[in-house]
């Protein structure tokens, strides 16, 4: 049981590391948020779950915290992304398409 928990926590830490690497490597705000949300959600989930398996009396607490992280992580990234879209943070040169204008056209205000 001890080894299993350590492995789970290790995989979680690996995903957290890749998420941070993505924030450093990717070119613009939106792509960085992609890495920041995706990798940290599973990373934090597995790390917390692994701690729960290592310490059986914390297991249900750990599950509750992991669920909370999964429910709130997309909301924070959504808030940052929406704000940067509204003030018009530029997209990187690799960008293929930007349909923000069509979206604002529907707003009718």
């Amino acid at each position: 049981m001890n080894g299993f928990g350590t492995i789970i926590t290790g995989i979680g830490v690996l995903f957290l590391f890749l998420g941070n690497l993505g924030v450093l490597r990717l070119p613009d705000v939106y792509n960085r948020i992609q890495a920041g949300t995706k990798c940290t959600t599973l990373g934090a989930f597995l790390a917390i779950l692994g701690i729960g398996i290592l310490e059986p009396s914390w297991f249900w607490k750990a599950c509750l915290i992991a669920l909370f992280v999964m429910a709130t992580n997309p909301i924070s990234s959504h808030a940052i992304a929406r704000a940067s879209n509204k003030i018009g943070v530029p997209l990187c040169h690799k960008t293929v398409v930007d349909q923000t204008k069509d979206f604002k056209k529907d707003r009718k205000t």
Binding site: R25, K61, N73, F103, D106, R107
Partner: protein
């Protein structure tokens, strides 16, 4: 927020759901079955659901049924699978030396009516492979996609939204 009159049966039902959720959370936090802990948990859950059941009702969750419960469980399993795929996909793009990204911002349409259903759809899209929600307006969602495969709204709707929406439509049907 204007005061809304709710039917007594709806208020009792939301009270019961909220009490159940709060009590389960209490059990998870304390992880003990001593009668003192249990009685304090029952008391606090009761008081909180007495105060908050109207707020729960205002969220607009549909009443529970066997069919909905089955679909919620299927939805959870599928969402978890998608999260794992998303993580491996984004991690691959990050560690690849050439960084094979093709980012873009596209629109998708949704057929869901309730605000809470749209919120769950938007959050699920944020958690899945290379897509996340920037903004919602009416039935249109603005999506940032790390690997754009199509620019037409019907095709993007099918590729990004449909796999969640078919379950959410059943869960949130009247």
């Amino acid at each position: 927020m204007p005061e809304v009159k709710y039917k007594t049966i709806h208020r009792m039902r939301s009270f019961a759901y909220l009490f159940f959720i709060l009590f389960i959370s209490w059990l998870a936090l304390t992880s003990s079955f001593q009668w003192q802990e249990l009685s304090i948990g029952v008391f606090i859950s009761f008081a909180l659901s007495l105060v908050l059941h109207k707020n729960y009702l205002a969220l607009g969750f549909p009443p529970l049924s066997i069919k909905r419960l089955v679909f919620i469980i299927i939805y959870m399993i599928m969402l978890f699978k998608e999260i794992v795929v998303a993580n491996i996909d984004v991690a691959y793009r990050v560690i690849h030396p050439k960084m094979p990204i093709k980012p873009g911002i596209v629109l998708i349409k949704t057929g869901l009516k309730q605000d809470i259903a749209k919120m769950i759809l938007a959050n699920s899209i944020t958690l899945t492979p290379g897509t996340f929600t920037l903004d919602i307006l009416g039935d249109t969602l603005l999506i940032h996609w790390i690997n754009v495969q199509s620019q037409k709204t019907d095709e993007t709707t099918k590729m990004i939204g449909e796999r969640f929406e078919k379950y959410l439509r059943v869960i949130f049907a009247e």
